[in-house]
């Protein structure tokens, strides 16, 4: 058994310390050590995006990173998207547009979409499709996901992130 390393990082705004083996992926560290099971495992090869999280503002597949590489980083997972019980506009729009069926891909899509809207608050359909092309959804055909992201972008432009009107 390989020796464990102490890792310190900021996860969803909190400073956390955890012990992980060098071979454990960040996804495994989040799910099995920190008990944040929102990020999902669909492939472990970077092909499905279900494990997407944001690290220092960038969307990454947490299955492609080792836990030890998270040292000193700032991580946001789907669990950190809503603030004190108020859903993020993307979360609300996904619900309103029925953008999830089974929901296993949803955490990854939400993080990828957040990454897009942080960079580009006024995306068109092509921008959205391009930004989400690394995330697979097998249930929806993407139609309602793309619509929700476009609608959330419009909502955020009008109301801003924190003030998005509660339904």
């Amino acid at each position: 058994m390989s020796k464990k390393t102490l890792v310190e990082a900021t996860v969803n705004g909190e400073t956390v310390e955890f012990l992980c083996e060098p071979r454990q992926s960040l996804l495994e560290s989040l799910r099995d050590i920190l008990e944040l099971t929102g990020a999902k495992e669909g492939c472990l090869t970077g092909d499905c995006g279900a494990c997407s999280v944001m690290i220092d503002g960038r969307v990454v597949c947490s299955c492609l990173m080792f836990g030890v590489e998270a040292q000193g980083t700032n991580i946001t997972t789907v669990e950190g998207l809503a603030t004190t019980g108020t859903l993020h506009s993307l979360q609300r729009k996904f619900l309103e547009h029925a953008s999830l069926q089974c929901g296993i891909c949803t955490p990854g899509f939400l993080m990828a979409a957040k990454g897009l809207l942080d960079r580009n608050p006024e995306p068109n359909e092509a921008d959205v499709r391009y930004a989400l092309a690394g995330n697979l959804c097998r249930c929806t055909g993407y139609d309602k996901i793309v619509k929700a992201v476009l609608d959330a972008a419009a909502d955020l432009r009008t109301h801003g992130e924190g003030k998005a009107a509660a339904r």
Binding site: D47, L95, H97, A98, C102, C139, G141
Partner: protein, 762 residues
């Protein structure tokens, strides 16, 4: 997004409330099977065959067992021997012996990825190391990969004991021959002015759910077991696991976790019995989760197939005869959906003379499982392209050709009995009148194709209870795992009957000890059959509450009426009572109110869909770009229109992927070469346009709300619609799926890009 109801009769049905399990799913809180942990839990991994076909001479796991952290290893020696004949397990018939051999190979491995042994260790990494330390000695046999090879005289035999009804005591790979016929086929073809005969191939494809299979098994010292898993059917997991493990059904409880997609692929068991077996051996909870490669190699994709279709029509466009030969890969054990395919292949059309021969053939590939309208998509790829060619020969618009020959109420189905009310023609008309079909498609190498599809839909058993709470709200409990938003529909049906808002009803999916038997979430049956049980359970609750109101008012029950969520006493001017007013009086008038119902869903209403797709073909690369896509489907009644559209769009996307890109790619040794999602190429966001939907509502007379079920038929038309569109774009008839760039390019080059009516085969 709540909007005025589309049907004046209803207040809740037809609206679009937020799904009840939604908040948990967008915040990462929802618990899927792989998210469960228990104190002291061990992790399991499975050793899988590196050969497509081999005899297992020996298994040595001494080294593996010595690895620190390894707790137990099981092989088929740990499984009881079970009956080698079809047995009823719930609604489905299974062969327990075959199932057992698929869970852990007995003396031979029959496909690349076939499970041989399972290890439990303190973590997954150690279990994986242990798997690599197990030594297996094989005698490798030649693999049999396709139906034509498997059916050849003298072919290598997979199962020495396999026999079919026609070949007497001869060893064979053909497990079953189905035949359907009507009229006089020879006379039919004689009357035809045009006859088209084509031979098709479709590749094996996977359902592609994003969540891999998972299970946590907990065996208790009292001889009972609990299984947590993501499944479409908790009751099937219970009965199948009981069969394989030789345990009484009553000793197993299955708790269905949230499920990350299934599409038919999660209606059987793989890991569940292993988790119990390992838990029994170690005394600890054991979790197993498949990797993506394991999902592709060793779960249940759907059959590749070979299909020959010959059809004839008169000059004025009347179909007069059909002769069909079809053979489907069952995988390593009998049971492809070829029978269903045969019963679907020409069902949308009135054909007086037909002969259909269908063969279920075992090959060295994983045992196939259900995939959305199992068998129908392969079949429609063949028949719907031939229909397109006949329409062209007759000089009739392909939609009009379908309307002319399409089945209506009273017409006979392939299997005999006449259709009750159906909406096939309406789906054709909806496409004909759609903005899409009415638009002009211009530009080079562009084409538009249409195709239709049929699927039976299923009834089967469902149970429901409706509990009325002290504050006048309600909960509805069913046994149907919610795979695409069905809980919202169950709450809406309850709310409609009780006169509540959808928000005032909490829907719950219960485990196998907490609700009556409920068959799989599959066959498009949940909104139909479980919805029927929910409807009746809610009415049962109303009936009981009417009695209670009559007690409060000291009247006879028939002097009390319930409408719009209120109880009214006939006669004198007593003010009406709401459920909320009545609920605090339950305990003084006879106790809590629980409405119950269980149904054996009769009155199934078949589903039809018609799809229109525009493509552009790049003649330099063979790449097909989808420009626009519209689907019309008969829902009977759309309870929650957003999730009905979602089923239509999702099935369409799967059908488009099946048509253009997806395939199991085996090498000459029978080893699967594309075991990841980069190489098993499913459609991404960039590959698809918006998918326009026309929801047809031709009420199913067999359901109190007119529901048919919408989960499956949308996948059926797309591959054929694509083939027909490619033909219109570049003049080649594609006869094989996937119509991937190399195949399309080859066809275009062969065709030279000019003559019409040419066809392309590989």
């Amino acid at each position: 997004m709540a909007e005025a109801t589309t049907n004046g009769k209803y207040k809740v049905i037809g609206t679009r409330p937020i799904r009840h399990d939604g908040a948990d799913k967008v915040t990462g809180r929802a618990k899927y099977g792989a998210d469960y942990t228990f104190p002291g839990m061990l992790h399991g991994k499975v050793l899988r065959s590196p050969h497509a076909h081999a005899i297992i001479k020996s298994i040595n796991f001494d080294k593996a067992l010595k690895l620190p952290g390894v707790k137990a290893i099981v092989t088929s020696k740990d499984l009881p021997s079970v009956a080698n004949k079809l047995e009823q397990a719930g609604e489905m018939a299974i062969n327990p012996h075959h199932l057992s051999m698929n869970i852990l190979a007995h003396d031979r491995v029959l496909y690349d990825g076939h499970a041989i042994a399972a290890v439990a260790a303190i973590n997954g990494h150690i279990a994986e190391e242990a798997v690599r330390l197990i030594e297996v000695e094989y005698e490798v046999l030649p693999p049999v990969m396709t139906v034509d090879v498997a059916m050849k005289p003298g072919a290598t035999i997979l199962h020495k004991d396999l026999r079919n009804q026609e070949d007497g005591d001869k060893q064979t790979n053909v497990a079953q021959h189905y035949q359907f016929k009507r009229g006089d086929v020879a006379a039919g073809f004689k009357a035809a002015d045009y006859v088209v005969e084509r031979e098709f191939k479709t590749a094996m494809v996977h359902q592609g759910y994003i969540e891999p299979h998972n299970a946590v098994g907990i065996y208790s010292s009292d001889g009972t077991a609990t299984i947590y898993c993501s499944t479409q059917g908790a009751f099937e997991v219970r009965s199948f696991s009981a069969q394989v493990l030789g345990m009484p059904v009553g000793k197993i409880r299955v708790v269905p976790a949230e499920i990350g997609g299934g599409f038919g692929g999660k209606t059987t068991v793989y890991l569940e019995p292993l988790s119990v077996l390992l838990s029994k051996k170690t005394g600890a909870p054991v979790k197993l989760v498949m990797s993506r490669a394991e999902v592709l190699r060793a779960s249940g994709p759907t059959s590749g197939s070979q299909i020959k279709v010959k059809m004839g029509a008169t000059k004025d466009g009347k179909l007069v005869a059909a002769e069909i030969w079809m053979a489907y890969e069952a995988g390593a054990f009998p049971g492809s959906p070829v029978g269903a395919g045969a019963m679907c292949i020409i069902t949308p059309y009135k054909v007086e003379n037909f002969l259909i021969d269908a063969y279920d053939v075992v090959v060295n590939r994983p045992k196939t499982a259900a995939y959305r309208a199992p068998g129908a998509t392969n079949a429609a790829f063949a028949s719907e392209t031939v229909i397109d060619e006949l329409a062209e020969k007759c000089g009739i618009d392909p939609i009009d050709f379908r309307i002319k020959n399409g089945v209506k109420e009273g017409d006979a189905q392939t299997v005999g009995p006449p259709f009750k009310r159906i909406g096939f023609i309406q789906t054709c008309e909806a496409i004909k009148n759609s903005p899409h079909y009415k638009s002009k498609l211009t530009g080079k190498n562009r084409g538009r194709g249409v195709a239709s599809g049929f699927w039976f839909n299923a009834g089967m058993n469902s149970s429901a209870t409706v509990n009325i709470h002290a504050d006048g709200t309600a909960s509805v409990v069913t046994g149907s795992p919610d795979i695409g938003g069905s809980r919202a529909s169950m709450a809406m049906i309850t709310a409609e009957v009780l006169g509540l808002s959808a928000n005032d009803v909490r829907p719950v999916t219960a485990d196998t000890d907490s609700i009556g038997h409920t068959d799989v979430t599959g066959g498009s049956r949940v909104t139909f059959a479980t919805g029927m049980a929910v409807y009746e359970a809610a009415q049962d609750a109303v009936k009981q509450m009417i009695e209670r109101a009559s007690k409060v008012w000291e009247k006879k029950p028939d002097e009390v009426e319930f409408r719009d969520g209120k109880f009214f006493a006939k006669g004198n001017g007593v003010p009406p009572m709401s459920i909320k007013d009545l609920a605090p009086r339950f305990s003084r008038t006879g106790g809590p109110i629980t409405g119950r119902a269980s149904v054996n869903g009769r009155g199934v209403g078949p589903g039809f869909a018609t799809t229109c797709v525009d493509v552009e073909v790049d003649p330099e690369t063979g790449k097909v770009q989808i420009l626009r896509c519209t689907i019309a489907q008969d829902a009977g009644k759309a309870i929650h229109p957003s999730y009905v559209e979602g089923q239509m769009q999702g099935g369409t996307a799967q059908g488009l992927g099946w048509g253009l890109n997806e395939e199991y790619f085996y090498d000459e040794k029978g080893i699967l070469r594309n075991v990841g999602l980069l190489d098993y190429r499913m459609p991404t966001c960039l590959d698809l346009p918006m998918i326009e939907t026309c929801v047809v509502e031709e009420a199913n007379p067999g359901h109190p709300l007119g529901v048919r079920g919408v989960g499956e038929v949308s996948i059926v038309p797309p591959p054929a619609a694509l083939a027909n569109a490619i033909y219109r774009a570049v003049g080649v008839r594609m006869l094989e799926t996937p119509m991937s760039p190399p195949k399309v390019l080859k066809a275009v080059l062969k065709h030279g890009g000019s003559a019409q009516h040419s066809a392309a085969a590989d």
